[in-house]
Amino acid sequence: MSHLQEEDRLLIQEAVDKFILDNYPFEEKEKRLAELGQYGGHWGTFAELGWLMLPFAEEAGGLGGGIADVQVLLQAFGRGLIAEPFSEVVLQAGKALEFCAPESSREQLLLPLMSGEQRVVLAHGEVSADADFSAVTCIAETCAEGYRLTGSKRVVCQAGSADRYLVTAKLNNEPALFLVDAGSDNLERYEYLTIDTRYASDLQLDGVTVPAAALVATGEVVAEGVRDALLYTFAGLAAEVHGIAKNLRLMTAEYLNTREQFGTKIANFQALQHLLADMVIAEEEIASLAWLMSNVWEMEDSTERERLIRSTKARMCVAGRQLAEIAVQLHGGVGVTDELIVSHYLRRMVAIDALYGDSQQQLLWLAQQV
């Protein structure tokens, strides 16, 4: 739910709408991609507008916003296909730091992230990349300088834009979390494009040495904190999926009312009307899931919360992809061009699905609870 005053939320809404209008015309995506390649982007603006502080507790120097407040941003980011690493840095890594770090160091760790001075991304996924900690095989050992990390981290989204990685590992068989400088020795990064024309990297840590102070936390709090940060991210992303779904539906309805074939507007064909109706039904589901997620974090029962979030991740990704596929289909030939934003929305949907457990993996998790 929202933890902010109504007027503050409206200010965020206005600011993000203006930001997209001013900075994110879809037609300039080539230029933007080039900028992202150099990791420029608009991160400074994000910091100035206070967005990087939004979801963190006031005691930790944040604005104390809730998921509903973050969703205001994410819904707009979905609509505008904003490629800055907000969910990677602020939600995945930021919330993991907030949830895992002891109170004594929390603010100090979060400050450079919130000011925009340092970008941190979570490097948690391995061969199987669920939110759970059980799949982590990266090993940390103590050494004279502090710790030595060995292992590989897969599909670390936006790792190329990060100054530091928040690396999960096992230390004495206990979950542990480390902050590792991106430029560390013995750390190799292989970067590649993702299906949503962003970047991800695979990291290979071959005995990366970090000082003792790099250890953020250890113990069960790390396993729970990292899982919760990812669940929190999923809850926020429901709004991004909603932003995409809503815009696709609006664009598709407009297209059906414009495009003529067989001597009439194609909106007059019942077969196409029904496909549009299927999009609307999916959009309603997704809007409802985003709404459900907006106050899921306030639930007392964390088991039930996890069940709801994973159900949402699975359903919003299936419904979202179907909706986007219909949007492409109803746009016909132009729907499968790179020039129109429609195809890019579909591509973003696939990337969101793939993030830390696709819909099949989420369903499997749910099935195993039965």
């Binding site: 996924g125 061969v127 199987s128 990349a129 897969r154 599909v155 989204c157 292989y190 590649y192 494009l193 993702t194 299906i195 949503d196 024309t197 991800a200 695979d202 003529e260 074939q261 067989f262 001597g263 064909f269 077969a271 196409l272 496909l275 596929e325 492409v328 289909q329 016909g332 030939g333 729907g335 499968v336 061009t337 790179d338 020039e339 195809s343 579909l346 591509r347 696939v350 990337a351 699905d353 793939a354 993030l355 830390y356 696709d358 099949q360 993996q361 499997l364 099935a367 195993q368």
Partner: protein
């Protein structure tokens, strides 16, 4: 089930052995990894087939073909796809070739058929337009008669491989009055004719396959007209009916299923007993059963066709089911990549260089390409909604 005669079985063995022994490894690599094939890959393979006399096997012998039956053609297509050979680019050999030997003059046959056979002339098609997609008959690109020439003005969409093409076969409007189907004429034209501009279209997969081509006062000799003025629609129907069965491309789907089986066996060895593996096996089983039905439908249509029976709405049913199956298959292949489903190295897909030890993100990129490009399948060749309209109209009258 299609029963093969002893001769057909021998033919099948011969085809299988030939492709195994003659398919270049770098081309097979691209097909096996679901990477983009370039003109050079197609030409190289098609010339190898040409040297064997199997490139235009379905053409009558008098025009340089092998006079294959429908069944032989089917056997060849299946073996070609199963072995990981490139699909045959249809614009020359399967589209304009049969049009020329069925509707063309002797001069036209002599002039164009040899280049198609030798793969030295590369063809593209000019049918769809910005406002004439699935409603092809409303095309507007015009050709006005001036003496011995037609002067073409207008534009064509989805002129696939036009950037490589020497020739285009094109539907143009020569008459604005009367029924819209009646004013359409079929021409062939040299892509070097002045007034032609090719504008690339990058598709959803981030790759350059296709174009919009613009015509500004493009002068084509009347001798390049195939059939009479106004015959274009009849010829287009002849040609697209061929496309509708070819679109099923079941051999490639069988190859996809076999590849997934192999992949799942590896997954089972690496991480035995994972429940995820069983889920994938169930999804594969579902696809296999659907593919069984699609292949049966395809073979039944071919048998009917060979017996001279009308195939009716069967061709539309095949197009719908085959493309839906192609799409669910591509989703499964992508999903097998787990978190790497997000990876899409478009340069690797586009350039298709053989890599000895591909990274997981490279290995996954072919799945992304299949999924993205697969979205076109339910749109091209008459969208699946239009196919359903055709079926309903045939049944309801």
């Amino acid at each position: 089930m299609m029963r093969l005669s002893a001769e057909e079985q021998a033919f099948q063995k011969q085809v299988r052995a030939f492709i195994r022994d003659n398919l270049p490894a770098d081309i097979k690599y691209k097909v096996d990894n679901n990477l983009l094939l370039k003109k050079d890959d197609h030409v190289r393979w098609q010339k190898i087939l040409g040297d064997k006399g199997w490139f235009a096997g379905g053409w009558p012998e008098q025009y340089g073909g092998a006079g294959w039956s429908e069944t032989q053609q089917y056997i060849f297509d299946q073996e070609n796809a199963l072995a990981g050979a490139p699909f045959i680019i249809p614009y020359g050999v399967n589209m304009v070739g049969p049009v020329l030997y069925n509707f063309g003059t002797e001069e036209q046959k002599e002039k164009y058929l040899p280049g198609i056979l030798s793969n030295d002339t590369w063809w593209t098609q000019g049918y769809s337009e910005p406002n004439a997609g699935s409603d092809l008959a409303s095309l507007k690109c015009s050709a006005r008669r001036e003496g011995d020439e037609y002067v073409i003005n207008g534009t064509k969409m989805w002129t696939t491989q036009a950037q490589y093409a020497d020739m285009m076969h094109i539907l143009v409007r020569t008459d604005d009055g009367g029924k819209k189907q009646e004013g359409i004429t079929f021409l062939v034209l040299d892509m070097n004719t002045p007034g032609i501009t090719i504008s690339p279209i990058i598709t959803i997969d981030g790759v350059y396959h296709t174009n919009q081509t613009f015509f500004d006062e493009v002068r084509v000799p009347v001798a390049n007209r195939v059939g009479d003025e106004g015959d274009g629609w009849k010829i287009a129907r002849f040609l697209l009916e061929h496309e509708r069965t070819a679109i099923a491309d079941t051999g490639a789907k069988s190859r996809g299923v076999a590849a997934i089986k192999q992949r799942l066996q590896v997954m089972e060895q690496e991480r035995p007993g994972q429940p995820q593996n069983l889920l994938f096996k169930m999804r594969l089983a579902e696809i296999e059963s659907e593919l069984t039905a699609v292949i049966a439908l395809e073979q039944r249509l071919i048998a009917d066709w060979q017996a001279g029976k009308p195939v009716g709405y069967g061709a539309s049913a095949l197009k719908v089911r085959a493309t839906e199956l192609q799409q669910s298959l591509s989703v499964l292949i992508a999903d097998l990549n787990g978190p790497y489903k997000a990876a899409y190295e478009v340069d690797y897909v586009d350039q298709g260089k053989v890599v000895d030890d591909p990274t997981p993100s490279q290995l996954a990129s072919g799945g992304g390409y299949l999924y993205l490009y697969g979205r076109c399948a339910s749109i091209y060749g008459g969208s699946n909604q239009v196919q359903r309209n055709i079926i309903a109209k045939m049944v309801l009258g």
